[in-house]
Symmetry: C2
Subunit: 163 residues, 2 copies
């Protein structure tokens, strides 16, 4: 890899690492007490399996993103990185979708199933949730750029190089 | 591509196509009327944005899976197929995760948010939902095998070929 391209590559990886790290921190630090009708309850990410999955997936990708920053340029492991990148991007996408589906119900509720929206009772928790989802989404976009770049480099799908 | 490998490849693609097609059919054909406390309601996939997304994503992948079966072996478009495969696998994963998150709430409810489980009122709908998710999951697994095979072929990440 040329030096400029390598610096750009590492910069993107560092941004992706920061994005997923922020997503974890923002989600874990969100909790709020509220009274909902007559019941008092605490909103926290541990109360929904989807949010727990979101935090675990983002933590795994953060740890991976940290160690990959220190992988030497000439290491043969870089060939494995495309496959691991792909797997972890899929993990991240899956966790964001699950968390987003629950966040949508928390925000809008579902009349048909009689699930009431809870965001009016715990607005601070909902803001944290939204911020965390946006940060994680930014991380996924960066990983997708890295993946498409790898595929472009090894497969040349748009046939821009002359045979 | 050798002939045997090509037949195996097409067989896998046909299975993936069948899996996503079944997922769409089973989900779309599921509806059930029920009385929930004093309210009468109809459970249907259109009543949740996550299930609508699931049906749309599976339909897109089904149509793609159908047309790719007729792509000639010598077409240059096969180089693009790795990228489109990856994109559509991610779409499918995302839709399954979102639908699964909602299905989990439908089955178990969420005490903290006062969302009650609805599967005891609409068991037939819930069975369809589960079946559809399993079919779609089978489709994703096949697409992942195809993707890992492509990556293995062009990148040789485990260094099994001698340089």
């Amino acid at each position: 890899m040329a030096k400029a391209s390598r610096i750009g590559h590492l910069l993107l990886r560092f941004l992706a690492f920061s994005a997923t790290l922020s997503a974890v921190i923002v989600m874990v630090s969100s909790h709020e007490n509220a009274t909902f009708f007559t019941i008092s309850f605490e909103a926290k990410y541990t109360k929904s399996p989807s949010f727990k999955y979101f935090v675990i997936a983002n933590s795994v990708v953060t740890v991976y993103g940290f160690f990959i920053l220190f992988l030497p340029a000439e290491s043969l492991l870089w060939r494995l990185v495309v496959a691991t990148d792909m797997g972890l991007t899929m993990l991240l996408i899956s966790s964001i979708s699950a968390a987003l589906a629950i966040a949508q119900v928390a925000k809008k509720g579902n009349n048909y199933a009689a699930w009431l929206p809870i965001c009016s009772s715990v607005p601070k928790f909902c803001n944290h949730m939204t911020g965390s989802l946006i940060a994680s989404f930014a991380g996924v976009v960066i990983y997708m750029i890295l993946l498409l770049h790898s595929i472009h480099r090894v497969l040349d799908p748009l046939l821009m190089r002359k045979p």
